[in-house]
């Protein structure tokens, strides 16, 4: 852009008016300046900083800081009572110990936390880890697993890759009993033994079992079935164990082994059940129920 022309030569009336006003103002001469004022300029420019103000400034800053600190609300240290330690009560036969870290290790038997305090309890068993605070609970460790009964609050159970929250009033057994495949629970049909006995069939079967041969094998199997029906699982297991040891390759040995496997599993005697399952897989490799046994074994191993 080049220099604009004279403002007053504009064709716009407003411009002309404004230019006239500005020109009138521009014609005003400046008021003379007293040249003596130069001395004031010189003295003002020589004026240096007054260093005496530095300590005064520092003192003012310090006072300000002290005032702020003085006015600052004082935070009182509140004594927080340490959480009351939980009361642990172990049964007479319990095997347990408290580690330096505070973790309680329960190997066998029963241990109960009897006071719901804020103190955190960590209880390790061979099967899981239990964590709780402000809770009352009971833990029992057997060969079959850990039984947890929560009376108040809640308990966190951690196993290999599982975490469960057990609340007051709930009971949990860990590891859980694996589901038993249906084909393994079926009772096999055997040679009729003591079927015609009107009186004590149990006694008849016991007598027959003392014999030898096919009848004795059938009697031992039936004896276990009958004992189980009557609620005597231990006697049933004893009869079948005897059968396996006396007739390991008998006619009914697959049925006897399966019955043992199922009942030991139900009894939560997982170690023995595993042993029976492995033995079955070894000696009954052609059995059509082999796949079900393997599935159950996998569940038990988990």
């Amino acid at each position: 852009m080049t220099e604009p022309g004279a403002w007053s030569s504009s064709s716009d009336e407003r411009d002309v008016k404004a230019a006239r006003l500005v020109a009138l103002t521009a014609e005003i001469a400046p008021a003379p300046v007293d040249l003596a004022s130069w001395e004031r300029v010189v003295s003002a420019s020589r004026r240096t900083r007054d260093w005496r103000l530095v300590p005064a400034f520092a003192a003012a800053v310090l006072s300000g800081v002290l005032l702020v600190l003085w006015l600052k609300p004082v935070t009182k240290t509140v004594e927080v009572a340490a959480p009351e330690a939980p009361v642990l009560v172990a049964s007479a036969n319990a095997s347990w110990a408290q580690q330096p870290s505070g973790v309680v290790r329960l190997e066998a038997g029963r241990l109960s936390v009897q006071r719901a305090t804020a103190g955190r309890v960590v209880l390790e068993t061979p099967h899981a880890t239990l964590e709780a605070s402000r809770s009352r609970f009971l833990a029992e460790v057997t060969a079959g697993g850990t039984t947890l009964v929560v009376q108040e609050g809640e308990v966190l159970l951690r196993a290999k890759d599982v975490t469960r929250v057990v609340k007051a009033g709930e009971t949990l057994v860990w590891p859980p009993t694996p589901s038993i495949p249906e084909p393994l629970s079926q009772v096999a049909a055997t040679t009729p033994v003591c079927d015609a006995v009107v009186g004590d069939r149990l006694e008849c079967l016991r007598l027959e079992a003392k014999g030898d041969g096919l009848l004795a094998q059938a009697a031992l199997y039936e004896l276990g079935v009958l004992e189980l029906k009557q609620g005597n699982r231990a006697d049933a297991l004893a009869a079948w164990t005897t059968s396996v040891s006396r007739f390991p390759a008998g006619v009914l040995h697959p049925e006897v082994r399966l019955a043992l496997l199922v009942e030991l599993t139900k009894e939560r005697r997982f170690t023995e059940a595993l042993s029976v399952a492995r033995e079955f897989e070894r000696v009954c490799a052609d059995d059509p129920r082999l796949g079900d046994v393997q599935a159950l074994r996998h569940s038990l191993e988990r």
């Binding site: 852009m1 604009p4 411009d15 404004a18 014609e27 001469a29 008021a31 004031r40």
Partner: protein, 188 residues
């Protein structure tokens, strides 16, 4: 400048003071506004010159250099005054007019109106308009003072004139309305 080089820097600046003080005082007052003390502004401009004598004395146009400082001082004072007004600390003291007492009544009224309109312009336009139209500085010196290209000076001047004229017209309309005097009544 050859003569000035033989003088001490302070004496050279003093001569600039003698030569331009009155004009700069008026210019600084027009840039800063009527409420600020023109003597203070002038003093501050020459204090800067005394601190930097080499800069002012070796400048192509010492006058333009001094006007450049005056522009910055005025802008700074205007900002400070604005803040003080915001906090209610503004105490307007009676200040001596930088204009000649021999001015006519018409010139005085015109000056007041110009000041009123200038206060509505932005700093950049106000600076160029004051320096060119009121202080009579050539474009090259304004460019040197404001440290901007010459073309920018002309562009700003063009827009400043337009805004000034529009603002003046607007003020007159407002005054007519508030005074109750209209063109029609005048005709009556």
């Amino acid at each position: 400048m050859a003569m000035e080089s033989e003088l001490s820097p302070a004496e050279a600046v003093r001569r600039l003071y003698v030569a331009h003080a009155a004009e700069l005082r008026l210019g600084a007052a027009r840039l800063a506004g009527r409420d600020l003390d023109p003597d203070d502004l002038l003093q501050e401009v020459f204090m800067v010159a005394l601190r930097k004598p080499a800069d002012v004395l070796t400048a192509d146009s010492p006058k333009a250099w001094l006007y450049g400082v005056a522009v910055k001082v005025a802008a700074s004072r205007r900002r400070t005054a604005k803040v003080r007004r915001f906090f209610g600390l503004d105490d307007v003291a009676e200040v001596a007019s930088p204009e000649s007492p021999t001015r006519t009544m018409e010139q005085r009224d015109a000056s007041k109106r110009v000041e009123q309109v200038l206060s509505k312009l932005s700093d950049k336009k106000r600076e160029v308009l004051v320096l060119f139209e009121l202080q009579g500085l050539p474009g090259e010196e304004i460019a040197a003072a404001l440290q901007i290209p010459l073309k920018t000076v002309w562009t700003r001047l063009f827009h400043a004139r337009k805004e000034f004229a529009a603002e003046l017209a607007r003020l007159e309309v407002i005054e007519q309305r508030t005074s109750g005097v209209t063109e029609e009544r005048r005709h009556d």
